[in-house]
């Protein structure tokens, strides 16, 4: 599997991470080795294997709103400022 410097830079950008030139060179080599190894999976016949949407979504754990009022208050209490049942934080921009 051909992995280039651009692939590493793209993945870094998608992940909101700044990757230095040294890191890019390091990761490029390491990803080449890893993804070549991963190509061994192509030897496995997966015809007919069905994956459900839940299988494919299993890697995402949804952020569920807190329904427990006591817990919600405990969480808000960790913040210095509160407003309208919300924790108030400083502007980041």
């Amino acid at each position: 599997m051909d992995i280039t410097k651009k692939d590493v830079e793209l993945a870094g950008k998608l992940a909101n991470m700044r990757i230095s030139a040294e890191e890019t060179a390091l990761y490029e080599n390491q990803l080449k080795a890893l993804f070549n190894w991963v190509q061994e999976l192509s030897a496995v016949n997966t015809d007919g294997v069905k994956l459900s949407q839940s299988d494919l979504a299993a890697f995402v754990r949804p952020d569920v709103p807190v329904q427990n009022a006591v817990l919600a208050q405990e969480l808000r209490d960790d913040f210095a400022a509160q407003e309208n049942d919300c924790a108030k934080v400083k502007k980041v921009l």
Partner: protein, 471 residues
Amino acid sequence: MMTISQIIHAITSGEKTAEQITRESLSIIAQTNPEINAFVEVFEQDALAQAQAVDAKKARGEKLGALAGVPVAIKDNILYKGHKATCCSKMLANYVASYTSTVVEKLLAADAVIIGRTNMDEFAMGSSNQTSAYGPVKNPVDTERVPGGSSGGSAAAVAAGMVPLALGTDTGGSVRQPASFCGVVGVKPGYGRISRYGVVSFASSADQVGVLAANVEDASIGLEVISGKDVHDSTSLEAPVPAYTKQFTPDLKGLKIGLPKGFLDGLYEDIKERLLAAAKELKKLGAEMVDVDVPLAKYSAPVYYIVTSAEASSNLGRYDGIRYGYSAQNAPDLHAYYEDSRALFGLEVKKRIIIGTYALTSKRYEECFVKAMKVRELIKQDFKKVFEQVDVLLTPTSPTTAFRLGKEGKNPLSLYLADLYTCPGNIGGLAGISIPYGNDKKGLPVGVQFYGPILQEEKILNAAHCLEKTL
């Protein structure tokens, strides 16, 4: 350090108080931790207060819990309200837990004493405990060697006699491999046996909490306390938790143990010798040893690195300086803010995020991620079939014994291959246990591993308990 049974007996008989036991544990930590670096924080005052509460409970004649007065260490990715939980990352250097994980709640309900938080590979990504922001842990067996990872601090704390029981987490072998390197027992239960509520996520389809202890009985007692369904974790399973130590039998008559073909190929000779010695003893104990085939298990490691990295790239997206993690100052725009904040991840964590993000790009999604997920399904089916033939499997825990600090080799895959025999358990959701079974020619501990089907931990614990007695 005394075993859990000895501690319980000493406290209930009045021979010692819980406070004395806790002070002994704190004293051993004070003496040995400066060199071993197993603990990143000791909760001295809280621990003493908990121990005094146990003593007061006993004085009132109240029934004591199953871990009354037992000092327990928790890995630094397990939340305990009011205490830091940093995942040994600069990203979470100042994070203080706002609630307590279910596993810690259960320990406290059993009257355990939470003694401190242990060192680990950053965000549980590593097999040698060398990626921690707090510096590496040294193996108490040989301080020039690694303790394994990622629960290296927990394994070292037990091996050095600082505590009789420690919690770890295991996504690809992170409880069992360090247990093997440090000469202690490590159990990863089947997927869903233990709640992960309040445990920092790495790869949600593979993460499990596990226990490390000096012997199988102690590990079984600890596992029983923290197991069970939890309404806060929908992946935890509704099933009764057996009294594991009451399931122990004097022999293994009637038990079928599979030795998977291929697991011995190319294995380091000393480890192979110990594994075959274990198989011989198991046969003497009455077990029937059966050669079995799990043909696709050899693909578990590449599947593991694609699937868990993809999940990590999603789970670690929350460390953006707004929801969680370090918050950068003076960024000129939102994108720069994210990049500056996320710059605090270490090299290995960034690499896993890059791998996962790349595997999920439209260019590689079908070829890498979907392919790996399909192979995972076939591996699960392989294990299902093999457990129709045998009750448990016997395998090596690790392809090597503990290696020297900083000497993991130049091959970028070398550390990933450390999980060769442990990650099939996470890919298949199996229960696994590593127990020490002698040493290699350098005198380093060798671990052997039992695998069992989901929700049948009692089978592997019993097999391990019987085998342990043959040493």
